[in-house]
Symmetry: none
Subunit: 409 residues, 2 copies
Amino acid sequence: MTIFTEFDLMRELHQSGDKIVLLVMDGLGGLPMESDGLTELETAHTPHLDALAAQGTTGLAIPIRPGIEPGSGPAHLSLFSYDPVRYEVGRGVLEALGIGFDLQPNDLAARGNFATVDENGVIVDRRAGRISTEECIRLTKKLQEATGDVLPGYQIFVLPVKEHRFVLIIRGEGLGGKLTETDPLVTGKKPLPVRDESGTEEGRRTAALVNRWIEAARKVLADEPRANSLNLRGLSKDPQLPKFDEIYGLKAAAIAVYPMYRGVARLVGMEVVEFTGDRPQHEVDALERIWNDYDFFFVHIKKTDSYGEDGNFDAKVHEIQAVDEQIPRILALQPGALIVTGDHSTPAKLRKHSWHPVPTLLWSPRAIPDAVQRFGERACAGGHFGVFHATNLLPQAMAHAGRLKRFGA
Amino acid sequence: MTIFTEFDLMRELHQSGDKIVLLVMDGLGGLPMESDGLTELETAHTPHLDALAAQGTTGLAIPIRPGIEPGSGPAHLSLFSYDPVRYEVGRGVLEALGIGFDLQPNDLAARGNFATVDENGVIVDRRAGRISTEECIRLTKKLQEATGDVLPGYQIFVLPVKEHRFVLIIRGEGLGGKLTETDPLVTGKKPLPVRDESGTEEGRRTAALVNRWIEAARKVLADEPRANSLNLRGLSKDPQLPKFDEIYGLKAAAIAVYPMYRGVARLVGMEVVEFTGDRPQHEVDALERIWNDYDFFFVHIKKTDSYGEDGNFDAKVHEIQAVDEQIPRILALQPGALIVTGDHSTPAKLRKHSWHPVPTLLWSPRAIPDAVQRFGERACAGGHFGVFHATNLLPQAMAHAGRLKRFGA
């Protein structure tokens, strides 16, 4: 008896076929503000998405596991068919990708937080009073200059993210191990040293290198009024995921405005496409331009999530409508399969990501038009895909695009 | 690549939050007596449960696996999020817990059946003519006195259950192995000796000890008119399950009338609450009394199952209605999540447990009100949870009660 993984099946069965579009509205799923009301998607006037739902197949996607509130990185891995519970990507890596850093396979990345400590080195504020992003830029530049060469033989990158958050990358041979974080997660304690839990010589050496950098960096920060110390979290390397072309035989392109999503797409082997503008129509402009050059297109819309987190129900509705208006242009390109979904729910009512399953449709000339006539949370509960794990979407798209051979004789 | 189990996820993500109520109507699911009729739950007048279904999220729970008729023990383990196919609990342990015995980690427990044998030792009645419970009490007392010290260095407990059923517990060091049962499951054969299938020295020794006790016990019973022999089944030890507080950070209480359910609850680390009365309103009295002392409340209603097994459709309907009347009192306590479900189906039409999936609702201020407006088997098939494994319910309750942190950045 041979056990195949889902990826093995795809490796064995994939063939050439039609083009696939994965259109992701970040945080698409929502909630009614009152229990007898409509959700954001149900409220939006979406004639084109409704037509796709009527002609296509629908369902509700579970991004991670039932009840689990997804982070953006894991939620996208899941849409790309990598079970994020199985394929763990470190926070350092996600943060580095998030700022568009060109992470190399040997790089060690960490998420950094500026912090405030008292005269005994005890943490009094884990976020250094949430300093401004301008302050963050000044401080990372100062660190880059003062600590860039404290580890002979290694290159150091200290880069700003936002407010108290930054990224540290150490580049060089032989970095690795299973490294602990320095943040004790509460105030009133001193930062912890980085330790290695892998028990390898490589891990032990790497922990020592990181601790040496931390010591130098804290000295540089010592005279700062607020950000006079720092912590490192999520020390990790590129997890070397199997890539889209190898699993699916797909040449894949990513069209996304925000660095984070470009980064996760790169992690699975997509090429990131450059374009100007940041509205849905600009992303579809890019899609039209590159249509002949790729097999698979990931198009990411960010603002649906941002408005959800702001609690701005109406703005989220309008953004969904702006996407709806672009649907005819995508259809005109004649994809073999078009998926419209979200990476997770971000109900304006909760002002944050949530665990609720995500309304999803797959349009294709080969799809079964289920009984669902509208694109919405409650409507999609009656769809032919049922309630399903998001990792199933890509195999479905492959099938509907004519890209999978028969399994068995 | 790190593999997390669902329990690892919960261990990592749990935080404090609102209170959770798991209200279980045993054997809730039913069938129409005629194919064009209504089920017990659909027949019942349940305005409060219907309102919960309308405001909350619904679905159909599979207790064990599709098509598998659940026993009460495994079905409850599943509701408590322990996959019973993975976490096996022996019948001896369940029976011991069922009578409220304080089982210790080293104890070996067996389910005993009094039986009738002929002059050649061949079984003629595997249940000894279903002797009365009073007879059972007399016989176990007789066995306790006569066989309590036949295994030097070991303590023996022989305790009555009901009719021909009793429990044997052997307490002492070094008991174990994988032990077979003595009951040949048909009349016309002699009881079998206990054998060890683990191949360990411990198992071999334990089998010999148990056989020695059986021999002594059968001698004591030899002059009884009906219960002149016995069989042992389900020889097992406490499986040492991971506990609720450790996995979920929940301080959990069990409110149940019947010992069996109190026992299974204890197995996963719940505290069993004492109270007087045996009607649903008495159980809600207890719930109100202990509300401030716990995070999680398992409330078990037995009679829905008993009436189902009796084939008493109307009485099951009335018991469901009696539970419905208590719902406003539970809501008044303002839980963060209230689940109403059954451990399995017990259709009056079949007069026994069945494999049919169980109508389930989760009410919470954070729930998506799906399109389902009534609480019933057919209505819940259109719910947002879809058809799901019962082990998913607890993570869903955790999420809806605000008790889970985000997964990943």
